[in-house]
């Protein structure tokens, strides 16, 4: 199988500090790939390098065979690599349906259009995406008034509006109740199964990581410590020592 996301020797240096040091990653189409590691391991910096927020000091990123290294974030998103942020990042005063329509308009190249019917035409697709994330009943709610779990679901719907080939989820269950976490896990599975989206996620909840992922990359001090299946990673002595606190999962 051809890898959809290829990261080669990506490095980011802030002054004398190496935040990400020569990380290489290969994610196949349809895969759920987890990136884990202790706080400060470089996961969030790696995501920012992939999405164009940071320019890498060295290395390359390819999405579906297209080099996106050095592109601005909007260019990377249009190439098919879209991120859902670690903290809620919504459009507070837009309604839920307006939020999703915004990303669909951008992806369809109609965000500069002055014809209202261009966005009215997208309503079916907006409804379909909201249905997938369980927010159809909240279509006209104000984004800021949603619960934390619903806001995260809205973020996923907005990201899906970009019709991504690879979705980056940065700690998708952070701050969620057990019920909301369960709902998010079910949503991530649905995204892969129904929409065929390839997912790269960073997560601290090991039940979520090992329950969802096909492969896991463990990072430590900005470098890749281990890549393997959840079982291989969970039983790796080095990973257990530096991240799993000496406990086997």
């Amino acid at each position: 199988m051809n890898p959809l996301l290829v990261v080669d020797d990506i490095t980011k240096k802030f002054g004398g500090f190496l935040a990400v040091d020569g990380v290489s990653l290969s994610v196949d189409a349809g895969e759920i790939h987890a990136v884990i590691g202790p706080n400060g391991a470089g996961k969030s910096t790696l995501f920012k390098l992939l999405t164009g927020v940071y320019t890498p000091t060295r290395g390359t990123v390819e999405v579906s065979g297209t080099a996106v290294t050095g592109m601005r974030p909007h260019g990377v998103a249009r190439a098919g690599l879209v991120q859902v942020f670690q903290t809620s990042s919504i459009f507070p005063r837009l309604t839920v349906e307006e939020s999703v329509a915004t990303s669909l308009l951008a992806t369809s190249g109609m965000s500069m259009s002055l014809r209202r019917r261009d966005w009215v035409r997208l309503r079916d697709e907006v409804a379909s995406l909201l249905g997938d994330v369980g927010l159809l009943d909240e279509a006209r709610s104000i984004a800021a008034a949603l619960s934390h779990g619903d806001q995260r679901a809205l973020e996923v719907a907005v990201a899906l509006g970009c019709r991504p080939s690879v979705l980056l989820l940065d700690e998708p269950t952070a701050g969620m109740s057990p019920f909301e976490t369960e709902r998010m896990v079910a949503l991530i599975k649905t995204l892969r199964e129904v929409r065929g989206v390839t997912i790269v996620l960073s997560e601290h909840d090991m039940d979520v990581v090992f329950g969802l992922s096909d492969r896991v990359t463990v990072m430590h001090h900005g470098q890749v410590l281990r890549v393997g299946s959840p079982v291989e990673v969970a039983n790796d002595e080095q990973v257990i020592a530096v991240y799993l606190g000496g406990e086997r999962v």
Binding site: R72, S89, I90, T95, T102, S111, R140, A145
Partner: protein, 359 residues
């Protein structure tokens, strides 16, 4: 309510104050609310049409002034209220619109109608050139750069006496004899202002307007979903500049003159004052602010030289107690936008309280 795709949705936007955001903050209006807005708008248009014939000349002139300021304020609101870009230099484009007519008359005796048509285009081109520079900065730096451009253009206009007549400005028969009659001028300014406001309304409701609001709400997220923020903000800046230039052209019809102070920082402050008074979230909030400003200026300046002091105090009170302006006061009172009848209800309640009928 059944939506086009078949789902059942709430009649109104749903929201609470638990996170500091109320339903009133949404710019979504229910179909019923929209019908009410249209009905009140028709009443307003009819009243304004009748006003041109029935009101005295002084009041007609006040309304002409209000209408050109309404276009200026709503155009400024495109970048400040909808684009989230606090510009203190929109007077540059207002002044350029006015000077396009003044200078082409002074140097070329160009036909007024051609000059009037060119005014917004020249202002739009100027906005493109200024925007290409200032939009590379954000926040305070953006505000200061727009202010710097305004002062630069003001100073050039003031100092290039041979070309612009300097501080004297340009006087004469700038406008055709048809528009010298205040009632003719009134209907012309009314027609142009109505078309301009309608055009801006369509911009706000378009996919472009929605994208602009998304950028205002969360720039980083907008970029992350593939929106080219710079291009959209530049387009908004140019559209705003175009309509500010048109307002400048309307000013010439009102005053039959142009002056350098049309480009200075005080003139840039006028629409900002109107936005604060009328409210930025409602589309016609700035137009309401323009009307309040013009009427208040006329009344207060006849009684005291210290009108700016009084306006300053009003600004402080509004900023402290009604930060979303008169429009926001209505929205906060009712929990949702219900057009002008809500404003009347608030006024009636206040009146009842003052009379002691209600506590």
């Amino acid at each position: 309510m059944t939506v086009p795709w078949g789902g059942e949705l709430a009649e109104e936007p749903v929201g609470d104050n638990s996170r500091g955001h109320s339903a009133a903050e949404s710019e979504w209006v229910s179909p019923r609310g929209r019908r009410q807005q249209i009905a009140w708008l028709i009443v307003l248009v009819v009243l304004l049409l009748l006003g041109g014939r029935t009101l005295g000349v002084t009041n007609v002139e006040i309304l002409i002034d209000s209408m050109q300021f309404a276009v200026f304020a709503c155009a400024t609101n495109l970048v400040i209220g909808y684009g989230g870009l606090v510009s203190f230099g929109q007077a540059v484009f207002y002044g350029i619109g006015a000077y396009t007519i003044g200078l082409t008359w002074m140097h070329m005796r160009l036909d007024f109608w051609i000059a009037f048509g060119a005014a917004p285009i020249v202002a739009g081109i100027a906005a493109l050139l200024v925007g290409l520079i200032v939009l590379r900065t954000r926040g305070l730096y953006f505000a200061l750069l727009t202010l710097a451009f305004a002062q630069l253009c003001y100073t050039v206009t003031l100092l290039q006496t041979g070309f612009t007549n300097g501080s004297t400005g340009i006087f004469g028969s700038l406008i055709p004899s048809l528009l010298v009659n205040p009632r003719n001028a009134y209907y012309f300014v009314f027609g142009i202002s109505a078309v301009a406001l309608l055009a801006m309304w369509f911009v706000i409701r378009s996919p472009f307007g929605l994208t602009l609001k998304a950028i205002r709400e969360n720039r980083g997220r907008a970029e992350a979903i593939g929106i080219n923020v710079f291009r959209h903000q530049l387009a908004a800046f140019v559209i705003s500049g175009f309509f500010c230039g048109l307002a400048g052209g309307l000013f010439v019809i009102y005053d039959n003159a142009t002056y350098p102070h049309l480009l200075d920082w005080i003139t840039s402050g006028f629409p900002v004052f109107m936005l604060v008074i009328g409210g930025m979230a409602l589309f016609l909030g700035p137009a309401l602010g323009a009307l309040v400003y013009t009427v208040a200026y006329t009344e207060i300046s006849q009684r005291t030289q210290q009108w700016e002091l009084i306006f300053g105090i009003v600004l402080v009170i509004v900023a402290l107690f009604a930060p979303e302006g008169l429009g926001g006061l209505v929205a906060a009172r009712t929990g949702r936008r219900r057009s002008w009848h809500a404003l009347l209800r608030v006024a009636r309640d206040r009146y009842d309280v003052l009379r002691g009928d209600r506590v």
